[in-house]
Amino acid sequence: MLYTTRRTILGAATMAGLSLPSIIRAQDKESIKIGSALPLTGSQAGYGKDFDTSMRMGAADVNAAGGVNGRKVEIVALDTQAEPQLGINAANRFIGVEKMPMFYVSWSAVVKAVAPIANREKVLAINNGANSPEIATLGDYVYTTFPLADVDITKLARYVYTTLGKRRAAVLYINNDTGIDAAKLYRDTFTQAGGTIVTFEAYDPKATEFTGMLLKTRAANPDTVHIHGLTADTPQVIAQMRQLGMQQRVTSYSAAYNPKILEQLGPAAEGLIVTSLAPGVNDNKNVQKLLDEWKAAQNRVPNGLPYDQYQYDMVWLTKALYEYLDKKSLPATGDTLKEALLTQKEFDLPMTGKMIIDGHRVNKPVYLLTVEKGAFVPLATLT
């Protein structure tokens, strides 16, 4: 039987008192949770799951490099299915349950849906994959580290007019937040440059048959076609276009920079021009390291490599923001993290290079690639 005496109580209290600082220090070393709202299921999961994997690779590398002043980082990913309502649920969970002062989010419709919550709760929401130009206007707590469509689409439209010498463009786009704004940008830039938009057609996100729209386009006789869709529909539009005898050069954006497109289209993909907002293997040697990690872990390259580069880098960005807070002895809140983002402004990130935050936008070089002999090869870099 155990007897409790005044001496044992005193001894226990002394021990507890001595160990208190170490308990506090252990709490200090609590990991930093990084919230990430991505489509882990649903039609966009092919990208979403790969983004999550890349972000986790970034976390592993940050932790291997000592974490954030000794604290580990930990990814908390929630599924949005690229649906606004599920995005709202994820944001509420990050803020209400996980008590996170900041989280990352992708897909334009989802970013727009979570923006009011982030602004209301004064929590920093960082877009790291969506490109709707409207994201720059979503409020005081919504920022982007991913260049919006006004960066790559405007540069692409000017390139098509000026360098490729195309004068009559058709714009076919998916009727959702990804397509609508970007298509308008392409149309306006191409028109301002002096070109003519001969067809400007939206298609339903669930459509699988595009013949009518393509015949309308064929009748308008464009000399280039810009398609702003998603990975599921873009190959089908191009395939049906080629089958109807339309041989015009096709341009698209970074969503089409996907090895699956080459498989599905074969020779019909030849000449396709896509944009990339991150440097390639030839421009940055770290990219090969990421690809090697992918090959070792998954035995393949990721879907949408440039997006994956951004996802990987976001962990390093988080590290930089928290190190700023530690240096200034500031608590982690939406406001202090926003201050860290805007005050530091310039970040040297391993995969995407230098990132300069310009208010609610970010400017980056645009890398154009084209399909030649069944592979994406560099075409031009637009600064």
């Binding site: 699988t208 309308k216 089908q236 005898g245």
Partner: protein, 299 residues
């Protein structure tokens, strides 16, 4: 846009792309005719058919001659199992129509959920390439896929017509469809008829999903959207009129294709729902064209 070549191209492509919908509508309408049930489990069977073919072609790296029989066996077995261990049990209990509706819908959701866990949610095609060689016939682009789709749908309809009209088993199906109890008095087994129809519908489902899966990407959820066309076609054709439902499916395909001449392509899918509402409100028994002899008499 009113160039005759363009109109002919829209007509041809509209017919070709409606072919898989014709097949799935026929399977759905025939089941409704014989069993009297809106069998939404067909969506789940469509998912089973596609992913069986995908598994055999992509994972096992076997040719189409192995994938199609495998899909026929697996989908047929699943369809028969649903009939014997699901629908028949509910019939024996005297369950109401709502119970059948909920059961088949939930079953589809369950199948699709399991398939999602197994295969993920990325759009998949049966073959790596979705390009099909094209021949120009009188300035109209005719792809090999178009020809295959039209041929499969046409032969499916002809074979079904022959089966229902001239075979003994087919006549039994018609008898059960007309009045199951009366048919049983004449020694025709209604249970057998329901099982036969479950197998026939599985064959149509496999043919339909083969065409869809060789034309574009499919995700586990796709069948739940595709089955809407089968429902609208069945309603529009009139309950119990299988071949009219097939015609309605072609009509829906052409309506969507030709609508591009007057509306923006983004509204094309909305048309389906518009037709569904109008049909339910104004033609609950389907659109019935006057018989040919009356048209002659009118002349």
């Amino acid at each position: 846009m009113l160039d005759p070549v363009i109109l002919a191209q829209i007509l041809w492509t509209g017919i070709a792309t409606s072919a898989p919908y014709v097949l799935m509508t026929v399977g759905f309408a025939l089941t409704l005719k014989v069993t009297g049930l809106w069998n939404f489990a067909h969506a789940g069977l469509m998912a089973i058919a596609f992913y069986t073919m995908y598994f055999v072609l992509d994972f096992c790296d076997l040719p189409v001659v192995a994938a199609l029989p495998a899909a026929l066996i697996v989908t047929g077995a699943a369809s028969l199992a649903i009939e014997i261990f699901g629908l028949q049990v509910l019939r024996d209990r005297g369950s109401g129509n709502l119970t059948f509706f909920i059961f088949t819908l939930i079953l589809s959701e369950l199948i699709i959920y399991v398939i999602t866990l197994l295969f993920g949610t990325e759009p998949e095609t049966l073959f790596k390439s979705i390009l099909s060689p094209v021949t120009i016939v009188a300035n109209i682009a005719v792809s090999d896929w178009d020809e295959l789709a039209v041929a499969v749908a046409a032969s499916g309809l002809v074979l079904l017509y022959a089966f229902l009209t001239w075979s003994r088993e087919g006549q039994f199906l018609n008898a059960v469809a007309d009045n199951a109890r009366l048919a049983e008095l004449y020694g025709i087994s209604a249970k057998r008829a329901w099982r036969v129809v479950s197998i026939i519908s599985a064959v149509f489902i496999v043919a339909s999903m083969y065409l869809i899966g060789t034309h574009g990407g499919v995700v586990p959820n796709s069948p739940l959207e595709l089955i809407i066309t089968a429902v609208i076609g069945t309603l529009l054709g009139g309950i119990g009129r299988v071949f009219a439902a097939a015609g309605a499916a072609v009509f829906l395909g052409l309506l969507q294709s030709f609508s591009i001449l007057v509306i923006d392509s983004r509204w094309q899918n909305l048309l389906l729902y518009g037709v569904l509402f109008i049909t339910i409100l104004m033609f609950p028994r389907g659109v019935r064209l006057p018989p040919v002899r009356l048209l002659w008499a009118a002349r």
